[in-house]
């Protein structure tokens, strides 16, 4: 069956709460900041939204339910998305369909997490049952160790080098220097990347994200509603979502995108070459490289060669993670699953300010999440376009 297009539904009011390395405040504080930010951007009061979607790791013992009473919301549509790096695109998919079907008129999608001192360690010790049983007791390296194994396997399978991954990290740092809210403020050279302190070989310091506190938010509403309110908006060309794909692969070399990539571009009516910018989920460079491959920019294993030839900065021929991504802006927990999406909405609505890509009409956003045991389980992607594209 052909999937129904996302006609008449749009994304608007992208908002980023500036990240902080550590915060004494709770996730509720950051969620409130994010929600207020996106509402203010649209000129709405809290009682004017009737849908609410939440992604967070640090709300415990609350979920989206507790947050409604905490923040005084009375939505008729409520969602909680525990999918980490895939939560942005997944939130978009669900909320867009709810608005399309009339189950809600305006949905606020918020991802927020705090980062208190020691909260990252606590998150790791009980991240998932499989991680607790079969991954964390082996050196307790957390995601650094998991991605070290994936990077090691990828390098030996396809002959990739550390320079190949450095190419992404260095370009993202250049992008971050344009973003006043990025946590990383100093330039990064390839020499510095290569000489960085080893963390879990072959992963070194600049392959790792910095956990921080922050929030990202946007609104989903009907296009006529956005026009009426005079809000710049982004359209949804296509989306895909997949979980636990390729479970038989010995080590993760591909994600669920590879299952659904044809459907994505078919539904979007365009291809990788038509994208003016790409926002991948970049908790480690290797996974960004995989996304370029699995989303059809090049063949499997050719990611390093493909990217080597491209300028990934804001002014380059393939702008990538234009706000600096998680590698250079910071990883605000589940908000890391929103960072690329919120930035892409800004880009295609021409509101990205210092990181604005010239004539950004179409963007690809990709999400990846949840190292449940040895690999990321959730994958998702969306093609967005601006009003004019």
């Amino acid at each position: 069956m052909t999937r129904m297009p996302y006609d008449g539904v749009v994304l608007t009011a992208p908002f980023t709460v500036p990240y902080q390395r550590y915060s004494n405040d709770a996730a509720h504080f950051w969620a409130a900041k994010g929600l207020r930010g996106t509402l203010d951007a649209a000129g709405l009061r809290p009682d004017q939204i009737d849908g609410f979607s939440v992604a967070s790791f640090s709300l415990f013992p609350d979920t989206a339910v507790g947050l409604t009473q905490h923040l005084g919301l009375g939505p008729r549509w409520l969602d909680h998305i525990p999918m980490g790096g895939a939560s942005g695109v997944v939130a978009l998919r669900r909320a867009a369909r709810a608005v399309q079907a009339g189950d809600a008129d305006i949905v606020a999608c918020v991802a927020a997490d705090t980062n208190q001192i020691d909260s990252f360690r606590k998150l790791l010790t009980a991240f998932s049952r499989f991680a607790m049983d079969a991954s964390y007791p082996y050196g307790s390296g957390g995601p650094n160790a998991n991605f070290a194994l994936i990077t090691d396997y990828y390098m030996s399978e396809y002959g990739a080098t550390r320079e190949d991954f450095g190419h992404l990290a260095v370009a993202q740092r250049a992008n971050a220097l344009r973003n006043p809210n990025a946590l990383m403020k100093t330039p990064l050279t390839m020499q510095q990347y290569l000489a960085a302190r080893p963390i879990a070989d072959p992963v070194a310091l600049f392959d790792c994200v910095m956990p921080c506190a922050g929030a990202e938010a946007f609104l989903i509403m009907r296009e006529d509603e956005a026009r009426q309110r005079n809000l710049p908006f982004a359209r949804i060309g296509a989306t895909i979502e997949r979980h636990n794909a390729f479970a038989e692969d010995p080590v993760q070399l591909r994600g669920g995108w590879a299952v659904d990539v044809d459907e994505l571009w078919q539904m979007a009516g365009c291809g990788p070459a038509d994208m003016d910018l790409v926002q991948t989920y970049d908790d480690y460079p290797v996974i960004s490289v995989m996304q370029f491959e699995d989303l059809g920019f090049c063949e499997k294993g050719e990611g390093p060669a493909f990217l080597r030839e491209r300028d990934l900065t804001v002014t380059g021929d393939l702008p990538h993670n234009t706000s600096g991504g998680q590698l250079s802006a910071g990883q605000a927990g589940a908000a890391g699953g929103f960072i690329g999406l919120v930035e892409a909405i800004r880009q295609v609505t021409g509101t990205a300010g210092p990181t604005q890509v010239a004539d950004a009409g179409r963007a690809l956003v990709s999400g990846f999440g949840m190292i449940n045991y040895d690999r990321g389980v959730c994958s998702a992607a969306a093609v967005l376009s601006g009003e004019s594209a």
Binding site: D133, A134, P137, Y138, G139, G142, A148, D201, V251
Partner: protein, 416 residues
């Protein structure tokens, strides 16, 4: 190449003793199955009873057919190391102290990928797998070289997962026990730095004392497990340097419950086999628990030698069976108490030993050398549960299959 492990440097008494940190403890109930197999030294994983698919990590339902019948089944301990890393930074205090720590992904022929510890001599390619208890007493998987390599046991990560006597000081509680000479010899051969052997009632002469006393790295010390003051005194001298304690003190007299009209032997059996253990635990336990992280000669293990009839009574040794059962129960509590210090508690279950008190028992009977071998092997592999000899193994197996059936079988030949 693994470097040979050097003896520890002399301790600086002005420095704080290193604390015993434990690797992450929490596990799901299913994953505790891994711990139970590691305690016995088996390499077993869940395997679906319906479709045969091997499961890892441990599950509650088969990921191929959704069956919930997933018995633990011995697996060929072989695989291929396909990805590896060295973890240099960890937020966990144990691994922060142990850093760097090698781990990797091993693919099993059954089609599961296993994240595991890596022995220093392991490279990508074929490896042998072992299921070993870590310092938290939880079952973990380690990849070892396919073939024995020089100084293999001295690998720091492998040593963390065992309780090897090498460079450690051992206290054996009863010098007069028939197995004492063989135990001392086996421990010295395994590299023990020093073996203290407890002697009660030192004024009583006994054969073999001179030979034991003449051995290098052996010291006979006064210790009577039925005397609280004696145990406390021994702990005062030896408590801080007992890295492994082997309680081999035993008292038994044959006979059914109705064969006597008093409780004299029964009391003596409890005094030695049960209360003796309690006294030792109270006197030596706290110091050992505090020294679980004390470097190369940290406190590592506590060994209790018990009759396998602790599990199911032999009615022809009624009092001894009861005292052994009490001691087994206390062993389990002691294991929980010492776990916080990373000190392993090993139960060695034995069948009839080749001595006067089992004169009527038909062979096979357990030779002292066999007990000594089993204990050293169990220490090196860091086991918690050892059934020593064919009779004990057979009894444990039957007890697992059906404890009530075993009780009825053991009743044969009694009550005449």
């Amino acid at each position: 190449m693994t470097e040979p492990l050097q003896p520890p440097a002399k301790k600086n008494p002005q420095l704080r003793s290193p604390l015993a940190f434990l690797p992450p403890v929490p596990r799901s109930r299913a994953a505790l199955g891994l711990t139970a197999r590691a305690a016995e030294g088996r390499f077993a994983l869940q395997q679906c009873a319906e479709c045969g698919a091997v499961q890892y990590p441990p599950r509650d339902a088969c990921c191929k057919c959704l069956s919930t019948d997933l018995p633990w089944t011995d697996q060929p301990p072989h695989g291929e190391l396909i990805a590896e890393t060295t973890v240099r930074i960890s937020p966990d205090l144990y691994f922060r102290n142990q850093s760097p720590w090698r781990m990797g992904t091993v693919r099993l022929a059954s089609g599961v990928s296993v994240l595991c510890h890596l022995h220093g001599d392991v490279r990508k390619g074929p490896v042998r797998l072992a299921l070993l208890l870590d310092r938290a007493g939880q079952g973990t998987i380690m990849a070892l070289p396919e073939q024995e390599v020089p100084n293999m046991a001295d690998d720091p990560q492998l040593r963390e997962l065992g309780t090897s006597p090498k460079h450690r000081r051992v206290l054996i509680t009863d010098a007069r026990a028939a197995n004492a000479p063989a135990l001392v010899r086996a421990l010295l051969d395994a590299g023990a730095a020093m073996v203290f052997v407890g002697e009660s009632e030192g004024w009583r002469r006994w054969p073999g004392r001179a030979a034991l006393d003449a051995m290098e790295r052996v010291e006979i010390v006064p210790l009577d497990v039925t005397d609280s003051a004696s145990v406390r005194e021994a702990a005062g001298t030896l408590g801080g340097k007992t890295d492994i304690l082997i309680n081999n003190a035993v008292f038994l007299r044959p006979g059914g419950a109705l064969d006597r009209s008093d409780t004299v032997f029964a009391q003596q059996e409890l005094e030695v086999n049960y209360l003796g253990l309690m006294r030792l635990a109270q006197a030596f336990g706290p110091a050992m628990r505090a020294r679980g992280g004390d470097g190369i000669n940290s406190a590592a293990a506590w060994v209790n030698i018990l009759s396998a009839n602790a599990l199911a009574a032999d009615p022809t040794h009624a009092g001894y069976s009861a005292a052994s059962a009490a001691a087994l129960s206390l062993t389990q509590s002691l294991r929980a108490d010492l776990r916080g210090g990373g000190v392993r508690v090993m139960t060695v279950l034995t069948g009839p030993t080749d001595d006067e008190w089992y004169a009527e028992a038909p062979p096979p009977k357990l030779a002292p050398r066999a007990v000594a071998r089993a204990i050293v092997d169990g220490l090196e592999r860091g086991l918690e549960e050892v059934a020593c000899g064919d009779i004990a193994r057979d009894l444990v197996e039957r007890w697992r299959q059906d404890a009530k059936v075993l009780e009825r079988e053991l009743a044969e030949g009694a009550g005449r």
